[in-house]
Amino acid sequence: MEKTGKKIVIGHLYPDLLNLYGDRGNIACMMQRCIWRGIDAETVEFNTGDTIDFSKLDIVLLGGGSDREQAIVCGNLLKIREQFREYVEDGGVVIAVCGGYQLLGKYYKTEQGMIEGLNLVDIYTEQEEGRLIDNIVLKSDLADMPVVGFENHGGRTCINDNKPFGKVLYGSGNDGKSGYEGVVYKNVIGTYLHGPLLPKNPQICDYLIRKALERKYGPTELAALNDSQEEAANAYIYHRFVKE
């Protein structure tokens, strides 16, 4: 593949604490889909206590962790809240999954107490009886293909008037009642979908890459890739769980 001279830097936040549910798959997917197109890609890991220079990042991944670990992360995140907010308001790309999604909001109320969030998006989460655990299928405006994944969360997220990531075709979504899943705010996607999210949803992955490239280099067309394997994996889940 001919080099495009372009480069994407992915910041993986707190992999020492937030590393549940195959988050590494989301990183691998973004990296490879850049590299296969001749776009240089680099991932920088920031562990708890590290200083983060958001001006050097093009995509930020905030992954999932257990409730206990999330509480530890939260203390660290509050220290970088202002820089993180500037990054988001400036159109910085963020993909936040599970625990990371909950941390985007005002707070996450659990039985053990209140975890203060980053307050980057006007949403909040409260723990309720029973975890929502199953495969999940969405229809999202960000992709032609359905979005498929797996959800496993005790928190119910209220997204107020924000735009959801998708409409639930199978599964529970944000709260098991509203019929919607996740949130989209500027170039931020927050979602409960892991599995991990991106390998079976290559159009979502490309959406993130395109947004990051456009912010850095202006209008961008991504070269097409052979996604037959991704499409087969996606179609399998869709047809197994969604009755037409």
Binding site: G22, D67, H194
Partner: protein
């Protein structure tokens, strides 16, 4: 007595008529007829009841402990097939009882699924618990590791007389043993055996369970097993009572404990821990282990743990791998065989496997790039996920959802050395296929 009969009949019928694992049914029916059957039969065990818990190594450790006791001349009740929930445990006792409802057993060796301990402990209180390790496994079923630890702590405290035989190299298991208040003894490996510092492997429990500060490691064996100490408080790896020294890992395994050289013809570092755990349990229970090596030389797990088959001159090795720590260890074991090989990976997502297959992305499959591999085939219900997993580390793989077809193809066109790596529910069906093909001319 009726319950024992019913269990025996159910087991025979389901195995011979339905060709399936009938053990769980047998236990269910026995408990339905006589709810106190497990308490009654467990009460008849003459000496001690050992249970084995922990994420990985339960079945091998438990079966090895049973074989070691039998080698010393004792009669032992054991749930050999690995049916480790309440019904499986009840079945093990019911099927060992005589038709008069009497149990003639000196010891019991029972593996119990961690989450099922809560349902088993009301029936009997074990004398010893072996705790092998705690890794992430089936997050959709058990929730987080913290939840499993809470369950185990609760059952340990419900049996304060029970002594815990714990893997001291695992900070999570060791903390649990210390925190429970139960008496405990440790086993472990105090010397560095492999160079695992650069591994990208996911490590659980990087933070001290006592105070939340990061743990520092002198070395890792694999996953989070190693020599650790808290950077803030006094929590550290406990002193090791049964310490394996001069560890050799290659085509076979060897180590020295209590001055005895132990040798086994198996692969895989994790088997050092399995053997050491069984040895430590024997000795802690006050038994001699004079026939331990003899037992190991005869020991054939025959349950899909590095089990060998020969099909039309192809050497086939079947191995179970159901979570990231187990799979990473399996990859190491496969790579210890330096010959060219074909690999089939079978991944299902049935309830017993865990319906969430995201753990595949926590396994270091990229290490296969350094191995001499002729082909990789992905199979099973979630073969497409597995195929993508390989694609994103740039390793080509063929997809064939049907396991039997995949095996037949690689037998026909492969290099004569085939590894079949399977997760839990794929184990029984794959093993049946291999047994049948082995019988075909």
């Amino acid at each position: 007595m009726l319950a024992v009969w019913a269990a025996k009949i159910t087991e025979k019928v389901s195995v011979h008529v339905f060709h399936r694992q009938g053990v769980t049914w047998a236990g269910k029916i026995a408990l339905r007829i006589c709810p106190s059957i497990l308490r009654d039969l467990a009460g008849q065990v003459k000496k001690d009841i050992f249970i084995v818990c922990g994420t990985n190594g339960k079945t091998t450790t438990n079966n090895m402990l049973c074989a070691a006791m039998e080698a010393e001349g004792y009669r032992v009740v054991c749930n050999h097939t690995g049916s480790n929930m309440l019904n499986g445990v009840a079945a093990a006792f019911a099927l060992s009882a005589g038709i008069g409802g009497n149990l003639k057993a000196d010891y019991a060796c029972i593996e119990i699924d961690e989450a099922s301990t809560r349902r088993v402990f009301p029936h009997f209180k074990p004398d010893y618990m072996v705790l092998t390790n705690l890794f992430r496994d089936q997050l959709d079923r058990y929730g987080e590791i913290d939840i499993t630890m809470n369950i185990l702590k609760e059952v340990m405290q419900s049996a304060p007389e029970m002594k815990v035989i714990v893997n001291g190299d695992d900070a999570l298991s060791a903390y649990l043993a210390m925190d429970s208040g139960n008496d405990y003894v440790t086993y472990g490996i105090s010397e560095q055996v492999t160079d695992d510092a650069d591994s990208r492997e996911i490590r659980e429990g990087r933070f001290c369970k006592c105070c939340g500060a990061p743990l520092s490691y002198r070395f890792y064996h694999y996953s989070q097993l190693g020599d650790y100490a808290c950077t803030q408080c006094d929590f550290r790896r406990p002193d090791i009572r049964f310490d394996a020294g001069d560890v050799e890992i290659g085509d076979g395994l060897a180590f020295t404990v209590e001055g005895n050289r132990i040798r086994a013809n198996y692969k895989g570092f994790y088997n050092v821990y399995n053997i050491l755990a069984a040895y430590a349990a024997m000795r802690t229970g006050g038994l001699k282990a004079g026939h331990f090596n003899e037992m190991l030389s005869r020991f054939n797990p025959e349950n899909g743990r590095m089990e060998s088959f020969r099909i039309q001159n192809v050497k086939v090795t079947l191995n179970l791998a159901k979570n990231p720590a187990g799979f990473n260890q399996n990859i190491s074991a496969v790579m210890q065989d330096e010959a060219l090989k074909d690999i089939i990976i079978v991944i299902n997502d049935n309830a017993q496997d865990g319906t969430d297959v995201s753990w595949l992305w926590d396994v270091d499959f990229d290490r296969f790039k350094e191995d001499k591999i002729r082909s990789i085939t992905v199979s099973g219900i979630r073969c497409y996920d597995m195929g993508l997993r390989m694609k994103y580390v740039d390793i080509p793989a063929m997809s064939e959802p049907d396991v039997e077809k995949a095996i037949r193809q690689r037998i026909a066109d492969g290099c004569g050395n085939l590894y079949v790596l399977v997760n839990y529910t794929a184990l029984f069906s794959t093993r049946n296929v291999l047994k049948r093909l082995e019988g075909e001319k």
